[in-house]
């Protein structure tokens, strides 16, 4: 495995002023588009972006208005990792050097339909950075449950009613599933902590081979939140301990943020339309699940 190098930090001051993703039709306050915009500014001009069906491809590629200022392509829904791997292999075979291939796929495109191809890509150690922007449901098709939709969430396929309180399963443990491939570099991030996110992208940029970043990206349309609170709510999720910031590198887990105490889960949930129906027992279930997870992470990753 390639060793992750000690590389200079990127920040708002030293990042390029060039934009590679603009003029798109994303909803106001779209967290996914923030993730794509920031990542591409770090990755730079010599980038091939591959995006499966999903919000970012739907809003970015409507002929003749193309929103990517660098090379980009919509992939098959289940095949974003393999198409990106093909791009990397083709460009390498043609003798191209100093470029990066990146996938931007949603939670459904990653944890559900695209998972087989992603697992294959990591197994082959293809030279691709795979970024999953996680807005916790199939938002492009109108807010349906995915494998990363958290417990309790009301979606259009998990309605909250008399019999079922919305989504009855917890999020798949995507980060650890990816790490279990013994990938060279994997990380979790949130657009609520952009500095952390861009530096993880920068780290992955410098690794030759398969890398993965799971970035939490809010969705006002699907979450029922005001558009101006997108970054704040993505930060709240981390502060409430429902999303954690971590890395997997050289076979070791690293917890990047280990708060002494968490902010209120109830407050985080009640800000969002998708969780409004949740009972005290449901909220307790979310908290218990969080605590179990943190106990394990603190025990093993610190």
């Amino acid at each position: 495995m390639t060793k992750v190098l000690d590389i200079p930090k990127v920040n708002a001051k030293n990042m390029t002023e060039k934009e590679f993703f603009y003029g798109h039709k994303a909803c106001a306050g779209c967290g996914g588009s923030i993730a794509v915009r920031l990542a591409l500014k770090v990755l730079g001009e010599r980038t091939y972006s591959a995006l499966p069906a999903g919000c970012m491809s739907a809003v970015g590629f409507i002929y003749p208005q193309m929103a990517f200022n660098s090379n980009a392509i919509i992939t098959t829904f289940p095949g974003s990792a393999s198409m990106a791997a093909g791009i990397a292999a083709g460009a390498k075979a043609l003798g191209q050097k100093d470029f990066k291939t990146v996938v931007f796929a949603g939670d459904g495109g990653t944890a559900d339909i695209g998972f087989q191809a992603l697992s294959g890509m990591i197994d082959r150690n293809d030279d691709v950075l795979y970024i999953c922007y996680d807005n916790e449901a199939y938002m492009n098709t109108g807010i349906q449950k995915s494998g990363l939709t958290p417990y309790g969430t009301k979606t259009t396929t998990t309605p909250a009613g008399q019999n079922i309180p919305g989504t009855i399963t917890h999020k798949k443990n995507l980060f650890e599933i990816i790490a279990a491939h013994d990938i060279a570099y994997a990380a979790t991030a949130s657009i609520g902590y952009p500095q952390d996110f861009i530096n993880k992208v920068n780290k992955a940029k410098h690794v030759k081979g398969a890398t993965f970043i799971h970035v939490y990206a809010s969705c006002p349309t699907g979450w029922g939140t005001p558009t101006e609170t997108s970054v704040e709510i993505a930060k709240d999720a981390v502060d409430a301990g429902l999303i954690f910031l971590a890395e997997y590198e050289d076979g070791e887990y690293k917890l990047n943020r280990n708060p002494k105490e968490f902010k209120s889960v109830e407050e985080y949930l009640k800000k969002q339309g998708r969780f409004k129906h949740m009972s005290d027992a449901d909220i307790q279930c979310v908290i218990e699940n969080r605590d179990k997870k943190w106990e394990r992470m603190r025990k093993n990753w610190l």
């Binding site: 091939y48 919509i74 990792a81 393999s82 292999a89 083709g90 087989q116 191809a117 697992s119």
Partner: protein
């Protein structure tokens, strides 16, 4: 002319054709009876005989996705599949032709489950006729090798830019050994120059590909795709002529007629069964019967002109279909009928469906088909679609 004949299987002949075509990326997933091809290709890469990236993809869906990705940066690509694998690729097949990526694929024609069968028929590829790929069906291992080389030239032509599927019958062609002439690499290089396309992403000229279209534009994209397929007809003919000039082997473009010049009754078929039909034609000709064979080589684009031309000259045509479109008739028959309906002449026709799941089609059965065509013609019978040599009683 340099000649180098070796004794190899159809699968190995395909691998040789691929090696000579110098693809940059090979991505394939194993499936019987295609596996020998991908095994040989990986051995060639290992031995340094092929300078290609060999991708061990985890599925056929990823095989087609990866080859599209590589093609989208201007690389020459190859994949291979069969049956269930080809069907698993189905989304990608449409995607690839719509993206105008000239991926070349070998398909080992095999039955489609259920019931499971690893043996040959043509239901896999024929069920994907509408996926926008050029489809050619070969008769022997030499044609398989030669058509891989031709396929790149046809698919990558600037007026075509359409992926191409080279079909060879599972086991009958993939696993039987023949003496095959391996063309000289220098001559192949001369015949097949490196892939050049404007339809690619690059750092000199960045592009957004694989995009969405609105209802205002979609029909125009599909129209262009259809035009490209029609453009392929002349390119196929010209490529075959150029190939013959350089390598001394000619396949007659869209179709090959055998003993059709003065024929009254002809059988129409695809692929390896044509070899058996030729033998029967020779026998019946010796008996004084004016019979012939139309070997359809290309199912897409369809050889409408060639079929019409022959239909004008003959009295009866029978189609052997190693496939069935349930609730109707064989797919080759449907396509042939549509072309024949364009001429102002009655031709007696019959559809013989069989050879499914690897069952042999014998000389006796083929002779019987010719006899039935003669009888139908004489008795002015209604046209029939029959499953031949059926082992079960019919309802009547």
């Amino acid at each position: 002319m340099k000649s180098n004949k070796i004794f190899i299987s159809g699968d190995e002949a395909v691998a040789q054709g691929v090696r000579l075509s110098r693809p940059h990326v090979v991505a394939a997933y194993p499936i019987t009876p295609q596996t020998i091809t991908v095994e040989r290709l990986s051995e060639m890469v290992e031995a340094g005989e092929m300078d290609a990236e060999y991708m061990h993809v985890e599925s056929e869906h990823s095989a087609i996705s990866a080859t599209m990705g590589a093609s989208a940066v201007g690389a020459r690509t190859f994949t291979a599949s069969s049956s269930q694998g080809l069907l698993y690729m189905a989304e990608g097949l449409h995607y690839c032709s719509g993206g105008r990526w000239p991926v070349v694929m070998m398909n080992a024609n095999r039955s489609v489950a259920l019931p499971w069968s690893i043996y040959g028929d043509q239901r896999d590829s024929l069920s994907l006729l509408d996926s926008g790929w050029i489809q050619v069906y070969v008769e022997d291992a030499q044609e398989a090798l030669d058509l891989i080389i031709q396929a790149y030239k046809i698919a990558e032509h600037k007026d075509v830019l359409t992926p191409m599927m080279v079909n060879l019958d599972g086991f009958i062609l993939t696993h039987t050994y023949e003496l095959v002439d391996i063309p000289d690499q220098d001559m192949v290089d001369q015949f097949l120059p490196p892939f050049q396309t404007p339809n690619k992403m690059s750092f000199e000229n960045p592009k957004n590909l694989g995009f969405s279209s609105r209802p205002d534009d979609n029909t125009e994209f599909k129209y262009q795709q259809n035009e490209a397929m029609f453009n392929a007809i002349d390119v196929i003919r010209k490529t075959d002529e150029d190939f013959a000039e350089m390598f001394g082997r000619k396949y007659h473009g869209m179709v090959e007629e055998y003993m059709c010049e003065d024929a009254d009754v002809v059988l129409v078929a695809l692929g390896s069964v044509c070899g058996t039909v030729r033998v029967v034609v020779d026998k019946l000709r010796a008996e004084g019967k004016k019979v012939g064979l139309l070997k359809i080589r290309y199912m897409r684009p369809f050889p409408v002109e060639e079929v019409k031309d022959l239909a004008r000259r003959v009295k009866a045509m029978g189609v052997i279909d190693k496939d069935i479109s349930f609730g109707y008739e064989g797919t080759v028959y449907t396509n042939l009928n549509s072309a024949i309906s364009q001429i102002d002449k009655y031709v007696y026709k019959s559809n013989f469906v069989g050879g499914l799941g690897g069952r042999d089609i014998t000389k006796a059965e083929i002779e019987d088909m010719y006899n039935k065509l003669y009888a139908g013609l004489e008795n002015k019978s209604e046209e029939t679609v029959e499953f031949f040599s059926l082992n079960v009683e019919g309802n009547d």
